[in-house]
Symmetry: C2
Subunit: 225 residues, 2 copies
Protein backbone atom coordinates (compact mmCIF):
# COMPACT_ATOMS: atom_id res chain seq x y z
CA UNK A 1 0.00 0.00 0.00
CA UNK A 2 1.30 3.44 -0.85
CA UNK A 3 0.03 6.96 -0.40
CA UNK A 4 -2.52 6.51 -3.19
CA UNK A 5 -4.83 4.50 -0.88
CA UNK A 6 -8.51 5.20 -1.50
CA UNK A 7 -7.98 6.41 -5.02
CA UNK A 8 -10.48 4.60 -7.20
CA UNK A 9 -9.46 2.69 -10.30
CA UNK A 10 -11.36 0.77 -12.95
CA UNK A 11 -9.57 -2.42 -13.97
CA UNK A 12 -10.45 -4.34 -17.13
CA UNK A 13 -10.47 -8.05 -16.41
CA UNK A 14 -10.91 -10.96 -18.78
CA UNK A 15 -10.33 -13.97 -16.56
CA UNK A 16 -6.89 -14.41 -18.06
CA UNK A 17 -3.46 -14.43 -16.46
CA UNK A 18 -2.49 -10.92 -17.54
CA UNK A 19 -5.55 -9.11 -16.23
CA UNK A 20 -5.44 -11.04 -12.93
CA UNK A 21 -1.85 -9.87 -12.47
CA UNK A 22 -2.81 -6.32 -13.44
CA UNK A 23 -5.60 -6.31 -10.85
CA UNK A 24 -3.21 -7.58 -8.14
CA UNK A 25 -0.73 -4.84 -9.09
CA UNK A 26 -3.41 -2.12 -8.96
CA UNK A 27 -4.47 -3.33 -5.50
CA UNK A 28 -0.80 -3.48 -4.50
CA UNK A 29 -0.44 0.15 -5.56
CA UNK A 30 -3.19 1.07 -3.11
CA UNK A 31 -6.07 1.65 -5.49
CA UNK A 32 -9.65 0.88 -4.54
CA UNK A 33 -10.42 -1.28 -7.55
CA UNK A 34 -13.62 -1.74 -9.53
CA UNK A 35 -13.35 -4.51 -12.08
CA UNK A 36 -15.19 -4.55 -15.37
CA UNK A 37 -15.46 -7.42 -17.84
CA UNK A 38 -17.19 -7.43 -21.18
CA UNK A 39 -19.30 -10.34 -22.26
CA UNK A 40 -18.73 -9.80 -25.98
CA UNK A 41 -19.92 -13.18 -27.18
CA UNK A 42 -16.44 -14.71 -26.89
CA UNK A 43 -16.23 -18.39 -27.72
CA UNK A 44 -14.21 -19.05 -24.59
CA UNK A 45 -17.13 -18.39 -22.23
CA UNK A 46 -15.28 -19.92 -19.31
CA UNK A 47 -13.16 -16.73 -19.25
CA UNK A 48 -16.07 -14.89 -17.65
CA UNK A 49 -16.38 -17.55 -14.93
CA UNK A 50 -12.66 -17.12 -14.35
CA UNK A 51 -13.08 -13.33 -14.10
CA UNK A 52 -15.69 -13.91 -11.37
CA UNK A 53 -13.39 -16.28 -9.44
CA UNK A 54 -10.38 -13.96 -9.69
CA UNK A 55 -12.17 -10.76 -8.62
CA UNK A 56 -14.09 -12.51 -5.86
CA UNK A 57 -10.92 -14.01 -4.39
CA UNK A 58 -9.31 -10.54 -4.38
CA UNK A 59 -12.41 -8.96 -2.77
CA UNK A 60 -13.13 -6.71 -5.76
CA UNK A 61 -16.57 -6.00 -7.21
CA UNK A 62 -17.04 -7.06 -10.83
CA UNK A 63 -19.37 -5.47 -13.35
CA UNK A 64 -20.05 -7.57 -16.45
CA UNK A 65 -21.32 -5.56 -19.43
CA UNK A 66 -23.03 -7.41 -22.26
CA UNK A 67 -22.07 -6.40 -25.77
CA UNK A 68 -22.49 -8.97 -28.49
CA UNK A 69 -19.59 -8.32 -30.86
CA UNK A 70 -20.61 -11.38 -32.91
CA UNK A 71 -23.10 -8.97 -34.47
CA UNK A 72 -20.24 -7.24 -36.23
CA UNK A 73 -18.07 -10.36 -36.65
CA UNK A 74 -14.57 -10.43 -38.09
CA UNK A 75 -12.52 -12.59 -35.72
CA UNK A 76 -11.73 -16.21 -34.93
CA UNK A 77 -12.59 -15.49 -31.30
CA UNK A 78 -16.17 -14.55 -32.09
CA UNK A 79 -16.84 -16.21 -35.46
CA UNK A 80 -16.78 -19.80 -36.64
CA UNK A 81 -13.18 -19.63 -37.85
CA UNK A 82 -10.76 -22.27 -36.54
CA UNK A 83 -8.38 -21.00 -33.85
CA UNK A 84 -4.84 -21.49 -35.19
CA UNK A 85 -2.55 -23.88 -33.29
CA UNK A 86 0.68 -22.54 -34.80
CA UNK A 87 2.03 -19.04 -34.52
CA UNK A 88 1.13 -16.85 -37.49
CA UNK A 89 2.97 -13.96 -39.08
CA UNK A 90 1.67 -10.40 -38.63
CA UNK A 91 -1.71 -9.70 -37.09
CA UNK A 92 -3.35 -12.89 -35.77
CA UNK A 93 -6.80 -13.96 -36.98
CA UNK A 94 -7.79 -13.94 -33.30
CA UNK A 95 -7.60 -10.12 -33.39
CA UNK A 96 -11.03 -8.68 -32.55
CA UNK A 97 -11.66 -5.45 -34.50
CA UNK A 98 -11.25 -2.41 -32.25
CA UNK A 99 -11.53 -4.59 -29.15
CA UNK A 100 -9.32 -2.63 -26.78
CA UNK A 101 -10.75 0.66 -28.05
CA UNK A 102 -14.24 -0.62 -27.20
CA UNK A 103 -13.18 -2.10 -23.84
CA UNK A 104 -11.35 1.06 -22.77
CA UNK A 105 -14.32 3.20 -23.84
CA UNK A 106 -16.65 1.18 -21.63
CA UNK A 107 -14.16 1.34 -18.76
CA UNK A 108 -13.92 5.09 -19.27
CA UNK A 109 -17.70 5.50 -19.01
CA UNK A 110 -17.73 3.43 -15.82
CA UNK A 111 -14.79 5.41 -14.42
CA UNK A 112 -16.60 8.67 -15.04
CA UNK A 113 -19.68 7.42 -13.19
CA UNK A 114 -17.55 6.23 -10.25
CA UNK A 115 -15.40 9.37 -10.16
CA UNK A 116 -12.27 7.33 -10.91
CA UNK A 117 -9.41 8.92 -12.85
CA UNK A 118 -7.33 5.76 -13.21
CA UNK A 119 -7.87 2.87 -15.59
CA UNK A 120 -5.82 -0.33 -15.71
CA UNK A 121 -5.55 -2.67 -18.68
CA UNK A 122 -3.25 -5.67 -18.95
CA UNK A 123 -2.03 -5.14 -22.49
CA UNK A 124 1.37 -6.40 -23.43
CA UNK A 125 3.52 -5.31 -26.32
CA UNK A 126 6.09 -8.09 -25.94
CA UNK A 127 4.48 -11.50 -26.33
CA UNK A 128 1.45 -10.30 -28.34
CA UNK A 129 3.01 -7.66 -30.51
CA UNK A 130 0.80 -8.57 -33.46
CA UNK A 131 -2.18 -6.67 -32.04
CA UNK A 132 -2.24 -2.98 -33.02
CA UNK A 133 -4.27 -2.04 -29.95
CA UNK A 134 -1.71 -3.41 -27.48
CA UNK A 135 1.01 -0.92 -28.43
CA UNK A 136 2.16 1.97 -26.21
CA UNK A 137 1.29 4.55 -28.89
CA UNK A 138 -2.28 3.27 -28.94
CA UNK A 139 -2.54 3.57 -25.15
CA UNK A 140 -1.05 7.06 -25.25
CA UNK A 141 -3.59 8.10 -27.89
CA UNK A 142 -6.43 6.67 -25.80
CA UNK A 143 -5.27 8.61 -22.75
CA UNK A 144 -5.23 11.82 -24.79
CA UNK A 145 -8.73 11.00 -26.04
CA UNK A 146 -9.99 10.19 -22.53
CA UNK A 147 -8.95 13.61 -21.21
CA UNK A 148 -10.83 15.31 -24.05
CA UNK A 149 -13.85 13.00 -23.99
CA UNK A 150 -15.03 13.36 -20.45
CA UNK A 151 -16.51 15.85 -18.07
CA UNK A 152 -13.83 15.01 -15.48
CA UNK A 153 -11.10 15.29 -18.11
CA UNK A 154 -12.06 18.75 -19.30
CA UNK A 155 -12.45 19.83 -15.70
CA UNK A 156 -8.73 19.11 -15.37
CA UNK A 157 -8.53 15.55 -14.03
CA UNK A 158 -5.43 13.68 -15.18
CA UNK A 159 -7.13 10.56 -16.44
CA UNK A 160 -4.41 7.93 -16.65
CA UNK A 161 -4.38 4.62 -18.49
CA UNK A 162 -2.10 2.29 -16.56
CA UNK A 163 -0.49 -0.60 -18.43
CA UNK A 164 1.84 -2.15 -15.85
CA UNK A 165 2.52 -5.22 -18.01
CA UNK A 166 3.23 -3.50 -21.27
CA UNK A 167 6.98 -4.13 -21.40
CA UNK A 168 7.09 -7.33 -19.33
CA UNK A 169 7.70 -10.77 -20.77
CA UNK A 170 5.22 -13.49 -19.86
CA UNK A 171 7.67 -14.94 -17.34
CA UNK A 172 8.20 -11.54 -15.69
CA UNK A 173 4.41 -11.13 -15.44
CA UNK A 174 4.08 -14.53 -13.80
CA UNK A 175 6.94 -13.83 -11.36
CA UNK A 176 5.32 -10.52 -10.39
CA UNK A 177 1.90 -12.14 -9.93
CA UNK A 178 3.33 -15.02 -7.92
CA UNK A 179 4.99 -12.50 -5.56
CA UNK A 180 1.61 -10.78 -5.12
CA UNK A 181 -0.11 -14.10 -4.38
CA UNK A 182 -2.16 -14.40 -7.57
CA UNK A 183 -3.78 -17.83 -7.76
CA UNK A 184 -3.21 -18.60 -11.44
CA UNK A 185 -5.24 -21.82 -11.29
CA UNK A 186 -8.29 -19.51 -11.22
CA UNK A 187 -7.36 -17.93 -14.55
CA UNK A 188 -8.02 -19.13 -18.08
CA UNK A 189 -5.86 -18.08 -21.03
CA UNK A 190 -6.79 -20.82 -23.52
CA UNK A 191 -8.65 -19.71 -26.65
CA UNK A 192 -10.63 -22.94 -26.61
CA UNK A 193 -10.96 -23.86 -22.93
CA UNK A 194 -13.71 -26.34 -22.15
CA UNK A 195 -16.81 -25.55 -20.09
CA UNK A 196 -14.95 -26.27 -16.86
CA UNK A 197 -12.29 -23.73 -17.87
CA UNK A 198 -9.70 -26.41 -18.59
CA UNK A 199 -7.07 -25.46 -21.16
CA UNK A 200 -6.33 -27.28 -24.44
CA UNK A 201 -2.57 -26.95 -23.96
CA UNK A 202 -2.08 -26.57 -27.72
CA UNK A 203 -3.16 -23.11 -28.91
CA UNK A 204 -0.86 -20.08 -29.14
CA UNK A 205 -2.13 -18.72 -25.87
CA UNK A 206 -1.56 -22.00 -23.99
CA UNK A 207 1.92 -22.36 -25.43
CA UNK A 208 2.98 -18.83 -24.45
CA UNK A 209 1.55 -19.32 -20.97
CA UNK A 210 3.23 -22.69 -20.38
CA UNK A 211 6.59 -21.35 -21.59
CA UNK A 212 6.11 -18.37 -19.26
CA UNK A 213 5.71 -20.54 -16.16
CA UNK A 214 8.75 -22.57 -17.18
CA UNK A 215 10.92 -19.46 -17.72
CA UNK A 216 9.69 -17.89 -14.46
CA UNK A 217 10.52 -21.01 -12.47
CA UNK A 218 6.99 -20.92 -11.06
CA UNK A 219 4.99 -24.19 -10.88
CA UNK A 220 2.33 -24.20 -13.63
CA UNK A 221 -0.99 -24.44 -11.83
CA UNK A 222 -2.97 -24.27 -15.09
CA UNK A 223 -5.80 -26.80 -15.23
CA UNK A 224 -5.32 -28.68 -18.51
CA UNK A 225 -8.07 -30.80 -20.06
CA UNK B 1 -22.59 11.93 -56.37
CA UNK B 2 -18.89 12.65 -56.66
CA UNK B 3 -15.82 10.60 -57.52
CA UNK B 4 -15.91 8.82 -54.18
CA UNK B 5 -18.75 6.55 -55.35
CA UNK B 6 -18.46 3.00 -54.01
CA UNK B 7 -16.30 4.00 -51.08
CA UNK B 8 -17.82 2.43 -47.99
CA UNK B 9 -18.69 4.45 -44.92
CA UNK B 10 -20.12 3.60 -41.52
CA UNK B 11 -22.64 6.17 -40.33
CA UNK B 12 -23.78 6.40 -36.71
CA UNK B 13 -27.53 6.98 -36.58
CA UNK B 14 -29.75 7.65 -33.60
CA UNK B 15 -33.11 8.33 -35.18
CA UNK B 16 -32.64 12.04 -34.56
CA UNK B 17 -32.60 14.97 -36.94
CA UNK B 18 -28.81 15.42 -36.94
CA UNK B 19 -27.87 11.86 -37.80
CA UNK B 20 -30.56 11.65 -40.51
CA UNK B 21 -29.02 14.74 -42.11
CA UNK B 22 -25.53 13.31 -41.72
CA UNK B 23 -26.60 10.09 -43.45
CA UNK B 24 -28.16 12.05 -46.32
CA UNK B 25 -24.94 14.07 -46.67
CA UNK B 26 -22.76 10.93 -46.70
CA UNK B 27 -24.97 9.42 -49.41
CA UNK B 28 -24.84 12.74 -51.27
CA UNK B 29 -21.03 12.57 -51.13
CA UNK B 30 -21.20 9.25 -52.95
CA UNK B 31 -20.43 6.88 -50.10
CA UNK B 32 -21.94 3.41 -49.91
CA UNK B 33 -23.33 3.76 -46.40
CA UNK B 34 -23.73 1.22 -43.61
CA UNK B 35 -25.67 2.59 -40.69
CA UNK B 36 -25.14 1.53 -37.11
CA UNK B 37 -27.27 2.38 -34.10
CA UNK B 38 -26.67 1.45 -30.50
CA UNK B 39 -29.48 0.24 -28.31
CA UNK B 40 -27.93 1.48 -25.07
CA UNK B 41 -31.02 1.28 -22.91
CA UNK B 42 -32.04 4.85 -23.74
CA UNK B 43 -35.30 5.98 -22.21
CA UNK B 44 -36.45 7.37 -25.53
CA UNK B 45 -36.86 3.96 -27.17
CA UNK B 46 -38.81 5.41 -30.07
CA UNK B 47 -35.46 6.76 -31.36
CA UNK B 48 -34.56 3.26 -32.51
CA UNK B 49 -37.83 2.93 -34.42
CA UNK B 50 -37.04 6.28 -36.01
CA UNK B 51 -33.54 5.04 -36.96
CA UNK B 52 -35.18 2.09 -38.74
CA UNK B 53 -37.61 4.36 -40.64
CA UNK B 54 -34.89 6.82 -41.66
CA UNK B 55 -32.38 4.24 -42.91
CA UNK B 56 -35.04 2.16 -44.63
CA UNK B 57 -36.39 5.19 -46.51
CA UNK B 58 -32.84 6.00 -47.68
CA UNK B 59 -32.20 2.39 -48.74
CA UNK B 60 -29.36 1.89 -46.23
CA UNK B 61 -28.82 -1.24 -44.13
CA UNK B 62 -28.98 -0.70 -40.37
CA UNK B 63 -27.15 -2.71 -37.75
CA UNK B 64 -28.43 -2.28 -34.18
CA UNK B 65 -25.93 -3.26 -31.49
CA UNK B 66 -27.22 -3.93 -27.99
CA UNK B 67 -25.21 -2.47 -25.13
CA UNK B 68 -27.03 -1.75 -21.92
CA UNK B 69 -25.39 1.41 -20.58
CA UNK B 70 -27.93 1.48 -17.74
CA UNK B 71 -25.58 -1.04 -16.13
CA UNK B 72 -23.07 1.74 -15.58
CA UNK B 73 -25.63 4.52 -15.09
CA UNK B 74 -24.79 8.16 -14.61
CA UNK B 75 -27.18 10.07 -16.90
CA UNK B 76 -30.72 11.39 -17.06
CA UNK B 77 -31.08 9.64 -20.42
CA UNK B 78 -30.49 6.19 -18.96
CA UNK B 79 -31.32 6.61 -15.26
CA UNK B 80 -34.41 7.65 -13.39
CA UNK B 81 -33.41 11.30 -13.21
CA UNK B 82 -35.91 13.87 -14.48
CA UNK B 83 -35.06 15.32 -17.88
CA UNK B 84 -34.69 19.08 -17.40
CA UNK B 85 -37.10 21.34 -19.28
CA UNK B 86 -34.96 24.45 -18.96
CA UNK B 87 -31.49 24.99 -20.32
CA UNK B 88 -28.76 24.34 -17.77
CA UNK B 89 -25.33 25.89 -17.40
CA UNK B 90 -22.24 23.82 -18.27
CA UNK B 91 -22.48 20.10 -19.01
CA UNK B 92 -26.12 18.93 -19.13
CA UNK B 93 -27.31 16.07 -16.88
CA UNK B 94 -28.41 14.35 -20.08
CA UNK B 95 -24.71 13.76 -20.88
CA UNK B 96 -24.04 10.00 -21.11
CA UNK B 97 -20.55 9.17 -19.81
CA UNK B 98 -18.17 8.46 -22.68
CA UNK B 99 -21.09 7.96 -25.06
CA UNK B 100 -19.50 9.19 -28.27
CA UNK B 101 -16.25 7.41 -27.42
CA UNK B 102 -18.19 4.17 -27.06
CA UNK B 103 -20.33 4.76 -30.18
CA UNK B 104 -17.32 5.63 -32.33
CA UNK B 105 -15.43 2.58 -31.02
CA UNK B 106 -18.26 0.30 -32.08
CA UNK B 107 -18.50 2.03 -35.45
CA UNK B 108 -14.74 1.61 -35.84
CA UNK B 109 -14.96 -2.13 -35.21
CA UNK B 110 -17.77 -2.44 -37.75
CA UNK B 111 -15.81 -0.33 -40.26
CA UNK B 112 -12.80 -2.58 -39.91
CA UNK B 113 -14.92 -5.66 -40.59
CA UNK B 114 -16.49 -4.02 -43.66
CA UNK B 115 -13.22 -2.62 -44.97
CA UNK B 116 -14.52 0.94 -44.62
CA UNK B 117 -12.09 3.78 -43.87
CA UNK B 118 -14.70 6.48 -43.39
CA UNK B 119 -16.93 7.06 -40.38
CA UNK B 120 -19.65 9.70 -40.10
CA UNK B 121 -21.08 11.06 -36.87
CA UNK B 122 -23.55 13.93 -36.57
CA UNK B 123 -21.94 15.73 -33.66
CA UNK B 124 -22.41 19.43 -33.37
CA UNK B 125 -20.31 21.89 -31.42
CA UNK B 126 -22.69 24.84 -31.82
CA UNK B 127 -26.08 24.08 -30.31
CA UNK B 128 -24.86 21.37 -27.90
CA UNK B 129 -21.55 22.81 -26.83
CA UNK B 130 -21.99 21.51 -23.29
CA UNK B 131 -20.97 17.97 -24.28
CA UNK B 132 -17.20 17.37 -24.14
CA UNK B 133 -17.38 14.58 -26.71
CA UNK B 134 -18.95 16.77 -29.41
CA UNK B 135 -15.95 19.07 -29.75
CA UNK B 136 -13.59 19.11 -32.76
CA UNK B 137 -10.56 18.33 -30.58
CA UNK B 138 -12.28 15.17 -29.33
CA UNK B 139 -13.02 14.06 -32.89
CA UNK B 140 -9.44 14.79 -33.93
CA UNK B 141 -8.14 12.70 -31.01
CA UNK B 142 -10.45 9.84 -31.95
CA UNK B 143 -9.22 9.90 -35.53
CA UNK B 144 -5.62 9.71 -34.31
CA UNK B 145 -6.59 6.82 -32.07
CA UNK B 146 -8.45 5.02 -34.87
CA UNK B 147 -5.39 5.04 -37.11
CA UNK B 148 -3.30 3.50 -34.31
CA UNK B 149 -5.96 1.08 -33.09
CA UNK B 150 -6.71 -0.89 -36.20
CA UNK B 151 -5.15 -3.32 -38.61
CA UNK B 152 -6.24 -1.14 -41.55
CA UNK B 153 -4.90 1.97 -39.84
CA UNK B 154 -1.42 0.61 -39.20
CA UNK B 155 -1.38 -0.75 -42.73
CA UNK B 156 -1.61 2.89 -43.85
CA UNK B 157 -5.32 3.52 -44.40
CA UNK B 158 -6.36 7.10 -43.72
CA UNK B 159 -9.26 6.38 -41.43
CA UNK B 160 -11.32 9.56 -41.36
CA UNK B 161 -13.99 10.66 -38.92
CA UNK B 162 -16.39 12.92 -40.83
CA UNK B 163 -18.44 15.43 -38.85
CA UNK B 164 -20.25 17.42 -41.55
CA UNK B 165 -22.53 19.15 -39.02
CA UNK B 166 -19.93 20.17 -36.48
CA UNK B 167 -19.96 23.92 -37.20
CA UNK B 168 -23.54 24.23 -38.48
CA UNK B 169 -26.36 25.80 -36.53
CA UNK B 170 -29.56 23.81 -36.17
CA UNK B 171 -31.24 25.91 -38.85
CA UNK B 172 -28.34 25.36 -41.28
CA UNK B 173 -28.56 21.60 -40.63
CA UNK B 174 -32.30 21.64 -41.35
CA UNK B 175 -31.83 23.71 -44.53
CA UNK B 176 -29.16 21.28 -45.75
CA UNK B 177 -31.31 18.24 -44.97
CA UNK B 178 -34.39 19.76 -46.60
CA UNK B 179 -32.35 20.34 -49.79
CA UNK B 180 -31.31 16.67 -49.72
CA UNK B 181 -34.92 15.55 -49.25
CA UNK B 182 -34.68 14.31 -45.66
CA UNK B 183 -38.14 13.51 -44.33
CA UNK B 184 -37.83 14.98 -40.84
CA UNK B 185 -41.24 13.67 -39.77
CA UNK B 186 -39.49 10.27 -39.55
CA UNK B 187 -36.98 11.54 -36.99
CA UNK B 188 -37.31 11.91 -33.24
CA UNK B 189 -35.24 14.38 -31.23
CA UNK B 190 -37.33 14.58 -28.07
CA UNK B 191 -35.75 13.23 -24.89
CA UNK B 192 -39.13 11.98 -23.70
CA UNK B 193 -40.99 11.07 -26.89
CA UNK B 194 -43.96 8.78 -26.37
CA UNK B 195 -44.21 5.23 -27.70
CA UNK B 196 -45.46 6.47 -31.06
CA UNK B 197 -42.39 8.71 -31.33
CA UNK B 198 -44.38 11.89 -30.75
CA UNK B 199 -42.43 14.75 -29.20
CA UNK B 200 -43.20 16.51 -25.90
CA UNK B 201 -42.46 19.93 -27.39
CA UNK B 202 -41.07 21.13 -24.05
CA UNK B 203 -37.62 19.65 -23.41
CA UNK B 204 -34.32 21.29 -24.44
CA UNK B 205 -34.04 19.09 -27.49
CA UNK B 206 -37.60 19.91 -28.70
CA UNK B 207 -37.07 23.61 -28.14
CA UNK B 208 -33.79 23.71 -30.11
CA UNK B 209 -35.37 21.70 -32.91
CA UNK B 210 -38.50 23.87 -33.17
CA UNK B 211 -36.42 27.07 -33.17
CA UNK B 212 -34.24 25.51 -35.91
CA UNK B 213 -37.18 24.91 -38.25
CA UNK B 214 -38.41 28.44 -37.60
CA UNK B 215 -35.00 30.00 -38.33
CA UNK B 216 -34.51 27.82 -41.44
CA UNK B 217 -37.88 28.81 -42.84
CA UNK B 218 -38.69 25.12 -43.29
CA UNK B 219 -42.14 23.84 -42.24
CA UNK B 220 -41.81 21.89 -38.97
CA UNK B 221 -43.00 18.36 -39.76
CA UNK B 222 -42.27 17.13 -36.22
CA UNK B 223 -45.05 14.99 -34.84
CA UNK B 224 -45.94 16.51 -31.46
CA UNK B 225 -47.96 14.63 -28.82
Amino acid sequence: MNTETNKKAVVLVSGGLDSATTLAMAIGDGFQCFAIAVDYGQRHRSELDAAKRVTSSMGVSLKVLSLDLRQIGGSALTDDIDVPVDETEGIPVTYVPARNTIMLSLALGYAEVLGANDLFIGVNAVDYSGYPDCRPEFIQAFQTLARLATKTGIEGADITIHTPLIYLTKSEIIKKGAELGVNYSQTVSCYQANEQGKACGKCDSCRIRRDGFKAAGVPDSTRYA
